[in-house]
């Protein structure tokens, strides 16, 4: 039998062991291929219009996938090598040269790697159309996604992963040269004492944890990075201390309750856990903290994404708005009317809003609007509340409160003096509000009584901004018309509304909506997949760690079988033991992220639904890993 045959036989014999590995590595390759196939696919025309945005997103995503992939391949291969130390040593003893053994390991890892790459690419090609459709749906774009094999994506994926496996296989096969034979035969583990656990450290950990949660409840708007960091550190440190000590103590307490502890399989599960908790506590805590972070990241991105619609409305209260040239002959207005007519569209509301430019003593430029016009627009836009004013009174409305609140410079007026032309009007400000009726650039806006408005307008004279605002029956459905209008309305060089009103003269809700959903959608799409990969990587770490332990447990279960434990009891005992190992990080990370998401919902949309969907996927993933680990663990210890 030559080495190649031995490799082949080994792989066939271990196909069961390799199944999980192939599934995981295949998934990583598939995600990478799908990212690449969207990146390189010319079906996604809308991406080419915004190439700068998506290129960065997808590059970062690809790098993240590669890092997870590399870490996963490295970790899992080292598991295989460790579990086969003795086998390797036996080959060496039987007279196989180091070169041959090293070549054998190299071939085995490469073969498995290539199978994984093949499976991954296959799955990627198969599902890329559906993931592409999901991508289009998430980014709310319109594109007809067809099934397509993207050669460039194929090439890059194969190249990158073959290179990864090559490096890994070379590393593993070189281990044969660097390890002494005796080390390979030596027992892997000495007896461990059952740890005592420290009440002080455990209570401190729990205290920190609870304090972190309470502290997170005290975070208000606006956020500051310092307090977020403080809470993260408190919770993370608390988790580590808690897992390191209190968990041991809880298990010890459980072992004190003889009635339940002496009830069969539980005795085995709990004693096994206690025996090994010292070695596992840290990695369980790390997995809990890391998955909490991943959950929170996905939740955060999803919540920003979910806010996009509201945000688009914030920027564009009118479905269409631009600076009208009504005072200069109305040429642009006429062209706009023509375009709208050519599409057979009739705006449900169409007005030219006259906004005299005024100077606020000390604060610079502002705009004035009459009470009746304001109320009219509020009604049309279904936003804000009507205002009723007497002459000499005004209401301050902040048209850009997001920016102002983030810069913590939200103004608050009691009284204001507005100067227009030669005259100055001193008004009592009844209220400071966030009622938006104009795009953010037209800010701030003072609502004044109709009488005062007439006086201000006549005094301001030509120094008036004419804002044409329209509402459409179906603003998102009128996309082609809006795109044409965007071309018709001239750019910044037109008219006198260059700087203060902003660099964009044509504002449309539909355009903002598409833009925001594209930005946040790419982000969300990438985050969903990389987050899933990250959680998967954590699940595999647990999986390999437990299977590695199962080698040391096999003799124990042999004894238990002799003492009269049957297979179903072993299954139950292992199920409980692994259930705690998988359940604790799962539970802790979910609780952690609930507190984190609670903070996010203060600013962004209510995303509990989306968050619990993500949590459900995560729990499902861990559940799957748990079941597979359970199955293989039992198979290994009862073999």
């Amino acid at each position: 039998m030559n080495v190649n045959k031995l490799v082949f036989k080994n792989i066939r014999r271990r196909l069961g062991d390799y199944a999980m590995y192939l599934a995981s590595s295949g998934f990583i390759v598939a995600v990478f291929y799908i990212f690449a196939s969207i990146y390189f696919n010319d079906q996604f025309v809308f991406l080419q219009e915004h190439s700068d945005k998506y290129q960065v997103g997808f590059r970062v995503a690809a790098i993240l996938v590669l890092i997870y992939g590399a870490a996963f391949i490295w970790y899992s291969s080292s598991f295989f090598v460790r579990s086969r130390k003795k086998e390797t040593a036996t080959y060496l003893l039987m007279g196989l040269g180091k070169g041959q053994v090293s070549r054998m390991l190299f071939l085995e890892i490469m073969t498995i790697g290539l199978i994984g790459i093949g499976l991954g690419i296959g799955a990627g090609v198969l599902f890329s159309k559906y993931v592409g459709m999901l991508f289009v749906k998430i980014t709310k774009q319109i594109a007809d996604v067809q099934f397509a094999l993207v050669p460039k994506a194929l090439g890059v994926s194969v190249l990158v992963f073959v290179a990864l496996y090559l490096v890994n296989a070379l590393h593993i096969s070189s281990l044969v040269y660097r390890t002494k034979l005796i080390d390979m035969y030596q027992a892997d583990k000495k007896a461990e004492r059952r740890p005592k656990g420290s009440w002080i450290m455990g209570t401190l950990g729990l205290g920190l944890l609870v304090w972190g949660y309470i502290d997170s409840g005290m975070i208000g708007i606006p956020f500051n990075a310092q307090s977020l960091l403080r809470v993260t550190v408190e919770v993370a440190a608390g988790t580590f201390l808690f897992m390191g000590s209190l968990l041991t103590l809880i298990l010890r307490l459980a072992s004190k309750n003889k009635k339940s502890y002496w009830g069969g399989p539980r005795l085995i599960a709990i004693s096994q856990l206690m025996y090994r908790i010292r070695g596992q506590a840290l990695s369980l805590a790390a997995i809990a903290v890391l998955s909490a972070m991943a959950l929170t990241a996905v939740g955060a991105v999803w919540s920003i994404y979910s806010t996009s619609e509201e945000e688009a409305r914030y920027y564009e209260p009118f479905d269409i708005a631009y600076v009208s040239d009504v005072a200069k002959g109305g040429q642009v207005d006429a062209e706009v009317d023509a375009v709208i007519a050519s599409y057979g569209e009739t705006p449900v509301y169409d007005t030219v809003l006259e906004l005299p430019r005024v100077k606020v003593s000390g604060d610079g430029r502002a705009y004035a609007v009459s009470e009746s016009r304001f109320n009219e627009i509020v009604k049309v836009q279904h936003s804000g509340t009507k205002i009723s004013l007497e002459p000499g009174e005004a209401v301050y409305t902040d048209q850009d409160y997001y920016t102002n609140s983030m810069d913590s410079r939200t103004p608050h007026y009691e009284e204001v003096t507005l100067s227009a032309g030669e005259r100055a009007f001193t008004l009592t400000v009844l209220d400071n509000r966030e009622d938006k009726i104009t795009p953010i650039n037209i800010n701030p806006l003072f609502v004044v009584s109709d009488e005062d408005y007439d006086a201000i307008a006549s005094s301001a004279g030509e120094n008036t901004l004419y804002l044409r605002g329209m509402m459409l029956a179906d603003p998102l459905g009128a996309d082609p018309m809006i795109r044409e209008l965007d071309r018709v309305v001239p750019g910044p060089e037109f008219g006198d509304f260059t700087q203060p009103e902003g660099d964009r003269e044509f504002e449309a809700y539909a355009l903002k909506y598409e833009n925001l959903f594209l930005d946040t959608g790419i982000f969300l799409f990438v985050e969903l997949f990389t987050g899933l990969l990250f959680l998967m990587a954590l699940g595999s770490v647990l999986y390999y760690k437990q299977l590695n332990e199962s080698r040391f447990d096999a003799p124990r279960y042999r004894i238990l079988t002799r003492v009269g434990m049957d297979k179903s009891e072993i299954r139950r005992s292992v199920g409980l033991q692994l259930g705690i190992v998988f359940g604790i990080p799962l539970l802790i990370s979910i609780v952690h992220s609930i507190f984190a998401i609670r903070i996010l919902t203060m600013v962004f949309a209510n995303i509990w639904g989306a968050f619990f969907f993500v949590v459900a996927v995560y729990a499902l993933l861990f559940g799957l890993y748990y079941l597979v680990t359970w199955r293989q663990y039992v198979a290994r210890v009862t073999a």
Partner: protein, 252 residues
């Protein structure tokens, strides 16, 4: 009363599709009385271990009958078999087979816990078994904290704690020094006398066998000889040595 009744027990090893068939047991007839301390001796390949495995339900014979406590163990399957093994048999192994993750107490009560016995009953039985073996003070310790002999005595306590019909011991002194070995054997003898425990011990060591009340010798899968102790251990040891001399060969 007979605890174990073995009739014409045969065990063949080899492929079902032909080829070489080894007859490990070629028709054994043996009965063990209640309260007996039976030694089984014989050279390597004589079938000692196969016999033990067949009695302990780990292996199934090719033909013949094995009844333990009146029950035909060959007809037991699945859960009933596991429960029979757990409740009616006690095992002592050469390498102790104690769990290093459990204290001696937990090791001893393991079969009772698996049988879901009430806590009060478990405590009563464990303290009795520990008292019988003289390891009351070691119950809280872990296997790695006690000596080999103490480990084996804990293993014996585990074997008897379920008050089985029959204790099966496979070379129980094989891994012990002579002092510890003697301790363990005296424990067996005392349990046998005071508690009427029925013990079947496989050994190659004539000194260990001399603690028994009866010794049977196996050779090539058949019973070769049988000796009954007259009560004097030294004299019994000499007679065992005589038989072994006649049998010749390696004892293991």
């Amino acid at each position: 009363m007979e605890i174990v009744l073995i009739k014409n027990l045969k065990k063949d090893y080899g492929s079902r599709l032909g080829g070489n068939v080894t007859q490990a047991l070629r028709g054994i007839n043996l009965s063990v009385e209640q309260g007996e301390f039976l030694g089984v001796m014989g050279p390597s390949g004589s079938g000692k271990t196969t016999l033990l495995n067949c009695i302990s339900t780990i292996d199934t014979p090719t033909s013949g009958h094995v009844r333990i406590g009146g029950e035909d163990i060959l007809s037991l399957k699945g859960k009933a078999l596991t429960e029979f093994r757990r409740d009616k048999l006690g095992f002592v192994f050469q390498d102790f087979n104690l769990l290093d993750t459990l204290t001696l107490e937990e090791n001893i009560l393991l079969p009772l816990a698996l049988a879901r016995m009430p806590v009060s009953e478990i405590e009563k039985r464990v303290s009795q078994a520990a008292g019988d073996l003289g390891i009351e003070d070691l119950l809280g310790k872990y296997p790695y904290e006690v000596s080999m002999g103490q480990k084996q005595r804990a293993a014996v306590a585990r074997a008897i704690v379920g008050q089985p019909h029959l204790v099966l011991a496979d070379e129980p002194t094989g891994a012990l020094d002579s002092k510890s070995g003697r301790d363990v054997l005296s424990s067996f003898a005392r349990l046998n006398k005071e508690r009427q425990a029925t013990v079947l011990m496989v050994t190659h060591d004539p000194f260990a066998a001399s603690f028994c009340s009866r010794v049977v010798f196996l050779k090539d899968g058949l019973l070769f000889n049988e000796l009954i102790s007259g009560g004097e251990r030294g004299e019994f040891f000499d007679r065992i040595m005589d038989v072994l001399a006649v049998m010749g060969g390696d004892l293991r």
